[in-house]
Every structure is written in C-alpha cells, then in structure tokens.
Symmetry: C2
C-alpha cells in the first residue's frame, strides 16, 4: 500500500484528492483543512512548504504565494487507512484568508447557532489587495 | 448560510458529507479524520458524543458503540467556508481502531518512506473480538 494512498481519494479535476489537515506544530492548534492531490503532496515533501490542490481554482495552491503566509512543514503524518494527511507546520502570518490565525474561528453552540470565537490577526485587505 | 453548510459536501450514499476532524481537547493532538452527514452532525450536537457517517458501512457511525471508545464533545468549530468541522473531544481509550491513541501514527520521511512513530495503547483484539 502506498502511503498516502491517492487511489482512495475523491475524484476531482486535479485527479484523486485526499483530505489534509494543517496543525500548528508548536501550539497544536488546527489551522485549516484543505485537499491534496499526489502532485501537491510530493511538492510539499520536496520543498518543505505546504502545497494543496484548490478545488475552486482547479490547480495547485502554493499556500502563501499571494499572501506571504507560507506554511513550513515540520512533520507529515498519514492515518491508519492511508487516506488522510496531517501536516504539522510553522505558520507565517494568518492561516485563514479572512485574517484569522485559524480557519476554525467559528464556534457552534448546543442549539446549532454559531458565533465568531476568535480575534482577527490581520486585516485581509492589507494582505490580498496590495 | 447554514453553518456547517452541508450543501457544499461530497455526495455519498448517506447524503452530502463534510470532513470532520477530531482533536483531543486537552492535549491538542489530532486523533482522527472522518465524515459527517447532517444527521450525524445533529446527533453529535444533541447527544454530546461524536457521531460520524461511515462511508464503508454506508450508515451512521456512533463512535465507540462497539469498542466503548467514545468521544465526548467539548466544543464544535466550523471553518471559514462552513464546509469543514472540528470537534474538540475527550477520548475514552484509543481513537484508532488499530489501538493507537491517534489514527495519525505514521510519519512520512522526506524520501517518501513511512514508519510507525507511536506506541500502541491497546491491543485491538481485546477491544473488538469480545
């Protein structure tokens, strides 16, 4: 069995995609969820910086290419079924394109309502509208 | 926009599925990756214990139903795009059906080779073959 096993991924324009979780290597905070095809995985391994596959843009997404908010890969782990990837990373700036440290800034209450539970780190306008 | 937004999920026998990450609420360790349909999400919210949708079995998966290794939900977070779910949980026993604390027990090296980097917590035979 190849590890990770991209044959088990979800079919997409970019080929077979596996789920990828980015976690801050120091704080342990889960920063974002994204997808990888085999090319993205290999490039992440080779360059030491996280590369994903953007389903909306239909191409490789070199995280931080526009924003400068790169993710240095500290460790890569793969789960028991070899079909999910965990990246332990060092994040520059904010992981979230909305300017939050983590994309998981929304908390869901027992009644199903949600609220923003974190502070914004940076103003997205200063990052993307240069 | 409903949060999470199941309309953005991946089509499956169980309806639209969104990715769900289970993280140990105390240690911050990422324990497993699974899928939820809307029914699984609502049941998790209502009961306070993690319920997923098993793609292989094609039905709701009440985590720990067989093994006793339940996941008490401490907090639910949803990402910026409302299409990925993070559960901060209290794990009883081992999250992984192979007996490891975390399903992410395999480390991938720079050259693409992988190795088991954790110790087994429990013998799966004692959990599932009762």
């Amino acid at each position: 069995m190849p590890i990770p096993n991209f044959a088990k991924g979800t079919a997409s324009a970019g080929g077979s995609l596996l789920p990828a979780i980015a976690q801050d290597a120091t704080s342990g905070r889960v920063l974002m969820f994204a997808w990888m095809n085999e090319e993205a995985f290999r490039e992440s391994l080779k360059t030491g910086y996280a590369v994903y596959f953007s389903r909306s843009r239909g191409k490789l997404w070199r995280k931080g290419e526009t924003s400068g908010h790169q993710q240095k890969v500290i460790e890569i782990r793969v789960d028991c079924d070899a079909d999910a990837i965990l990246l332990r990373i060092e994040q520059t700036g904010a992981a979230c394109h909305e300017g939050f440290e983590s994309c998981f800034f929304r908390q869901v209450a027992k009644d199903g309502s949600s609220r923003i539970a974190d502070e914004r780190l940076v103003d997205p306008a200063t990052v993307y509208d240069k």
